[in-house]
């Protein structure tokens, strides 16, 4: 008898809320149970229940799966809706994420139409505060006409107060959304046809919106007829009105704090100055390149020494000559040469990550916005262009958010002119060999040239097919000092991604080149690859490039720009005999080289600030590929080669991206147009410098 009385007195509490708002944590805090808690949406995919005593009364707590609405578009939402309709709880605790109030309130508004007593648990207020958001709980309570309790469930803060509210809550909440008259009238008509129950208003609206809800046949039929009579789409009217109400409520109770630090304002006074901004930005980018060169140089030398040692070990082995050639010339000479440039990419990405996370790059975008307008392009087109400096392929996909097809096309045709990181390895090699003392400026100039040609292309195309300018407000973040861990991690991930992504293509290309070099004749120039490359030499001779190996490297460069270095490595170094090394001698060489690299790396720190010197000291005697290139090219020819390499045909992945986005015709146009521009400007560079 006593047990029956206790059971009768038991109160049923349901927790409902969006996914990942802390419902399960709250249940655990209230009841002392140990349900599994996760920091991802959908931890609760079925209803979970627990029993406890709260304020001397027995309470059954039921945790429903995370739902954004009761429209039952997902299995979780269907469970939540069905349980709410079936269980008829004494109280519903609606757990709301204070940091995502507007989205969460949609469900709260629906719950108010269900007719059960609701208590709002405003959770995660601490996280909201870190986002600069503060919710006025009292004002929200007045707006909703429901008790609202602020809490941090994970720390148990506010949980007792919520328990009290949950035990005393009673009475149906008032419906908070007012729909257009026609919808209200239709809803009332349907409610009159339904048996008496608290959820009638919600059910009538669900029926009008076309949701699949369990209703008597006549009600369903009348709902269908009313839907047809309304003349508007009832689903859109109902959902739209709920969202509008949620938005308006959130605006009234939310306080956003955004006070830019004083330091940010002071720095921006200079960096965003109409006249000083651009020179400061250019100086900043120059520093990025200087940093890259200075700090990567010792490690490039070290990786080169590792290659030499490996090649020496292979030469000292008893492997057959053809296998030695394959390993030394194909694998070590090709892939190894590309790997030697991983330090360049790592330090470039390190500098760029710092510039990004510190807030410098977003200022750069702000300044560049003016340049974009000069080219007749919307400011938002600058982001894809910036991405192009990393890799052209995602940059082309990123133009998708631009409204106008012509704007997208123009930016996409400009992107392949921006120097992607794959081209940097070649720039670094040639600049350090042929322009000692000015290598940073040469590489920097190439980056600017690519951007200028891209923008000019867009501007010229805009004359033929102008599009309306659209603009978006730019929000500039406060400056912050990025953590070393984050910066290193980003740089590492990007470098690794480059190596991983390029690895396959490089392997295949280098092996094909090695094979072609070993087919057709005993000397490299007699090989199939040599003959094919020599056929093309007359085309490049006017720009001072007469060595067939340089011309030949441009062919696989179409597959991926990063394989140019690998190809040059195979064709220049492959034929040179390598001195055999014993294992110990090799280890000794490696140790000495590593110590030398560490010392040179430390020396780079004071050099970094040794203005006005803008280039690292040149190696005393360039060895390896650098040494092999020096005698075959005049600096004018080297510049022409670099300009051609910067501007010629985009890599095959970029062409595929262009084809996907704009069709075969525009992809073909890009290939032909870039070839022509590259040839003309390469020739011009040679004639000017010669």
């Amino acid at each position: 008898m006593a047990a029956a009385a206790a059971a009768q007195a038991q109160r049923l509490l349901l927790t409902v809320g969006n996914p990942n708002v802390g419902k399960t944590t709250l249940i655990n805090a209230l009841s002392g149970s140990r349900f599994e808690v996760g920091n991802w949406p959908g931890t609760t995919v079925d209803r979970l229940s627990a029993h406890c005593l709260l304020q001397g009364r027995s309470l059954e707590l039921v945790d429903l799966p995370g739902s954004y609405s009761l429209a039952a578009t997902t299995p979780e939402e269907r469970i939540a809706r069905d349980e709410l309709l079936r269980l008829r709880p004494d109280v519903v605790v609606n757990v709301v994420d204070a940091g995502n109030l507007e989205r969460n309130l949609y469900l709260t508004l629906e719950l108010s139409e269900m007719g059960h007593p609701v208590v709002v648990a405003l959770n995660l207020v601490d996280e909201a505060r870190t986002k600069g958001l503060s919710v006025d709980a009292e004002a929200l309570s007045r707006e909703l006409a429901m008790p609202v309790v602020s809490l941090v469930a994970s720390r148990g803060e506010g949980v007792d107060s919520l328990g009290e509210q949950a035990m005393s809550a009673a009475g149906a909440p008032r419906s908070l959304v007012t729909y257009p008259d026609a919808i209200e009238r239709a809803s009332e008509e349907l409610q009159r046809l339904m048996p008496e129950r608290s959820e009638r208003r919600w059910l009538s609206l669900a029926a009008l919106a076309g949701e699949s809800v369990s209703l008597p046949g006549p009600v369903k039929e009348r709902a269908e007829a009313l839907r047809a009579e309304l003349g508007v789409d009832p689903f859109l009217e109902i959902a739209g009105q709920r969202y509008r109400t949620a938005h308006d409520m959130a605006q009234r109770v939310l306080e956003r704090q955004h006070v830019p630090p004083a330091l940010t304002e002071k720095i921006d006074r200079f960096l965003l100055h109409p006249w000083l901004g651009l020179p400061l930005f250019l100086a900043g980018m120059l520093l990025v390149f200087r940093f890259t060169f200075l700090f990567s140089d010792p490690w490039i030398t070290f990786v080169g020494d590792v290659q030499t040692v490996f090649a020496g070990w292979i030469a000292g082995s008893s492997l057959p000559a053809i296998v030695q050639s394959f390993l030394s010339d194909g694998i070590i000479g090709g892939v190894g040469t590309v790997m030697a440039f991983a330090p360049v990419l790592f330090f470039l990405y390190l500098a760029m990550s710092f510039a990004e996370a510190s807030g410098f790059l977003s200022r750069a975008a702000f300044i560049a916005d003016r340049v974009m307008h000069w080219a007749g392009l919307p400011g938002r087109g600058f982001i894809p262009l910036m991405l192009g400096f990393g890799c052209n392929v995602p940059a082309i996909y990123a133009t998708r958010t631009m409204e106008d097809f012509r704007d997208r096309l123009r930016v996409s045709l400009a992107i392949p002119f921006t120097a992607c990181s794959a081209r940097l390895a070649v720039f670094v090699l040639f600049a350090s060999v042929f322009f000692p003392g000015h290598s940073t400026l040469v590489v920097f100039g190439l980056y600017l040239l690519g951007l200028a040609i891209g923008l000019t292309t867009a501007a010229v195309l805009g004359k033929f097919a102008p599009a309306g300018l659209s603009s978006g407000a730019m929000e500039l973040p406060a400056y912050r000092l990025p953590t070393l861990r984050l910066t290193l991690r980003q740089a590492w991930l990007r470098t690794f991604s480059f190596i991983k992504g390029a690895g396959g293509a490089i392997m295949v290309t280098v092996l094909v080149v090695w094979l072609l070099l070993n087919v057709g004749g005993p000397r490299p120039e007699d090989s199939l690859y040599g003959q094919l490359s020599q056929l093309m030499v007359p085309i490049f001779a006017p720009m001072g490039v007469t060595d067939w190996r340089l011309v030949g490297a441009l062919i696989p460069g179409f597959i991926a720009k990063e394989v140019v270095i690998g190809t040059l490595g195979v064709s220049y170094l492959g034929a040179d005999p390598v001195a055999p090394l014993t294992f110990l001698a090799g280890l000794h060489q490696l140790g000495a080289s590593f110590l030398h690299a560490c010392w040179a790396f430390l020396n780079a720190v004071p050099q970094m600030f040794g203005l006005p010197q803008f280039s690292p000291p040149e190696p005393e005697a360039p060895g390896g590929l650098a040494g092999a290139l020096a005698p075959v090219l005049h600096p004018a020819g080297a510049l022409a080669y670099l300009v051609f390499l910067l501007l010629y045909t985009p890599c095959v992945a970029t062409v595929v991206a262009l084809k996907q986005e704009f069709g075969t015709r525009w992809a073909a146009f890009s290939v032909v147009y870039q070839l022509l521009v590259a040839y003309v400007l390469g020739l011009l560079a040679y004639l000017v410098l010669k």
Partner: protein, 96 residues
């Protein structure tokens, strides 16, 4: 909200862009888009780019990037479906 959202979706837009244009939270727009997508008023304008947004981290360009605010690292771009366009023209007709 929906009455302002639908006309914007006649052109491809990301959730973050829509949120900016509607002066609201990205999460709220994503919720609305999910609701509309489930009812087939809205669909993806393109498949997500597998390479976009993979290294966002704490990138300061996020404040300019159209993908900012997306929970997913990719760049889903939404647009009205035929059903959505029909609903839009219906509501325009009803509004006179």
């Amino acid at each position: 909200m929906i009455d302002r959202l639908l006309p914007l979706l006649t052109q491809p837009r990301t959730a973050a862009e829509l949120a900016r244009e509607l002066s609201t939270e990205s999460a709220a727009v994503e919720g609305l888009l999910a609701l509309l997508a489930a009812r087939e008023y809205v669909g993806k304008a393109y498949d997500s780019s597998p390479t976009c947004g993979t290294g966002c981290g704490k990138c300061s360009l996020q404040n300019l990037c159209p993908a900012k605010g997306s929970e997913a690292p990719f760049l889903p771009v939404y647009r009205l479906t035929a059903k959505g366009q029909e609903a839009l023209s219906k509501s325009r007709t009803a509004a006179g």
